[in-house]
Amino acid sequence: MKTGIVVFPGTWSDRDCAHALLEVLGEPVRFVDYRERDLGDLNLVILPGGFSYGDYLRCGAIARFTPVMNAVADFANRGGLVLGICNGFQILQEARLLPGALLRNASCEFRCEWVQLRVEQSDCAFTVDCRPGQVLRIPISHGEGNFFADPHTLESLEANGQIVFRYCTADGRITPEANPNGSLRNIAGVANARGNVLGLMPHPERACEPLLGGDDGLAIFRSAIHALNRVAV
């Protein structure tokens, strides 16, 4: 497997993702510049967190038009695995590869803290290693992670099983108190209909080592690796 980590101007969790994959999981990675147009050598593409173009107009709005995004769209349409983390999630939505939008946090404040996620779907490529209902502890770090979609879209997301993670309490309950940003229905991560593109606000790459507070994030990367191996077999 080979993972590409896309670097836009202003991206910062590129190095963290590379650390998690390479140093913790021993998976080869390569950084992909936003001007590149060819992802032919890759099996997994990560759009990491950060503030692409400063997030000045809208998170992800400008990054979405960089050359690499055409390649990412092609890659996704061919069934390649694409993971958007935080700013990467926002970029995928701007590019219409994922539904909905992310508004300012309801508190209007940035939030950096550990949260719990309930795995809602285990047939998404990024959760094949998880049980439905499993609770993962992973940090968030964002000012605009408040998931919004119109009622029609929401219903179809529910119906198609595209809601992959929801914010929950430590024992897996979906409550308003467990929702750190005001997201509709506590949605923390959604997939496309085909299940090969996932976007989530929390940062799994920050939860890969007990030394740093926990390693539940590994489940997401390992799932992708296993999903790919399965296809390859």
Binding site: Y53, G54, Y56, L57, A61, I62, F65, T66
Partner: protein
């Protein structure tokens, strides 16, 4: 009487505007070469009850001065109209 005030807050011309510059760069990259300058600001639409238009205007000016803008780096402009058909005042509701 209910009024709708629109407040436009912009950075003073002498102040640098990173957001405006970055948006201009984004427009150029999209092929909108004719764009020479972009300044980014805030737009606030405020619904308020006041006795008359003068009073409404002077209240909104106070708000802008105290909270909505920082005159060290920002300018603001206010536009005001009466909001006629507002049956009921809905909290966070839209116009």
């Amino acid at each position: 009487m209910t009024y709708r005030a629109e407040v436009f807050v912009t950075l003073k011309p002498v102040v640098n505007d990173p957001a405006g510059l970055t948006i201009r760069g984004g427009l150029h990259a999209l092929g909108f070469e004719s764009v020479k300058d972009v300044r980014a600001g805030k737009y606030l639409s405020i619904l308020l009850d006041e006795a008359d238009e003068d009073q409404a205007r002077s209240r909104v000016e106070e708000m802008a001065r105290q909270l909505l803008a920082n005159e060290v780096i920002e300018d603001f402009r206010i536009e005001l109209q009466p909001e006629p058909a507002l049956a009921e005042s809905r909290g966070g509701g839209p116009s």
